[in-house]
Assembly symmetry: C2
Amino acid sequence: MHCMSSLEPNSFAERKSIEQVEEGYELAPKFDAHGLIPVVCTDFASGELLMHGYMNEEALRKTIETGEAHYYSRSRKVLWHKGATSGLVQKIKELRIDDDQDCVWIRVEVSLSGASCHVGYRSCFYRAVPVAENLGTSKKFSEIKLKYLEQEKTFDPKLVYGDAPNPTQL
Amino acid sequence: MHCMSSLEPNSFAERKSIEQVEEGYELAPKFDAHGLIPVVCTDFASGELLMHGYMNEEALRKTIETGEAHYYSRSRKVLWHKGATSGLVQKIKELRIDDDQDCVWIRVEVSLSGASCHVGYRSCFYRAVPVAENLGTSKKFSEIKLKYLEQEKTFDPKLVYGDAPNPTQL
C-alpha cells in the first residue's frame, strides 16, 4: 500500500442539511445501517462497468489516502484491498460522490487487460438479459436466456486465486 | 407504460448452484434481506454513470417487460417508473446481470439531454473527491473539498418536480 498522504484518522463531515449534502463542497457520505456505502467501479478508458461493491468508512478513507480501491468484503467480513490476492489492483483515476452522498463512483485503471471479475472475465457484467421486444418466445421469467457478451475469459481464476473460497453466495 | 410482451407474473429461476448462477444461462437474481437488488444506470451514448438505485422483484419484471427503467423507491416505499413525474424516462438499450447475479446494470437513453438527477444535473455524480496526491493541504477527511464537474444544471428541478418532497435523507 502506498500512502500518499497522512490524513488524521477522523470522520468525514457531519451531515447537517440537504443543501450542504447536495450542493455543498463537504464530503459527508452516508453509510447504511450496516456501515456500508455502495460503490460503482468503471474502467477509466472504456467506461465499462467492472464491478459493484461496498466500502465501509475505513475502506473509503484508505481509498482516498492511497489512490487504490479498497472495499469491505461482505462475504469475508474484512477490509479488502482489491488486488492484494489477484494482483488486479484498481488505481483510482477519479472518485465521485452522488447528490445525496450515499453512493461512490470510482473510475479506475486495472492491470492485466482490465480484468476485474473473480470468474475470470474482464467485467463482472459479462451477460445481458433480453428485454421487451427482444424477449422472443419466453413466456416465463424463469425461461429467459442470458446472452454472453464476453466469449473468452481474460484469465484463469484457478491460477490467480488458487484454492481461495468462491465469494458467490446462493 | 408500454407492455411489449405478456410474460406471466411468476418468479425468476431458482438459485441452485454457483455454476448455474455464474456460468449458466438462467436469470436467477438475488434480492437482499429487504427484497432489493442494486442497479447501476449508465448513459448508453456517453457511458457516464447517471444514477444508482434499487429494484425489487416487481420493478425488475416491469423493466424487462416494458424496456423502461422501473425502480423501487426506498424513501417513498413504492414502485417507481422513472420519468413518470419528471418525463425523464430511461429507455433500456441493454440490461446486464453480474457474475453472482446480485447486481443489475442498465444502459439507457434519456430524453432532455440525458438529465437524470433530481437536483437538476445531468448525472447524480456531478462532484469529484480528490484522492492521494491531489488531496492537497487537507489534513482531515472533514476538510476535503469536493470539485464540481458540471458547471450548470440541465434543468430547473422546481419546474420539473414542483412541490414534490426532496428524496434526500440525512
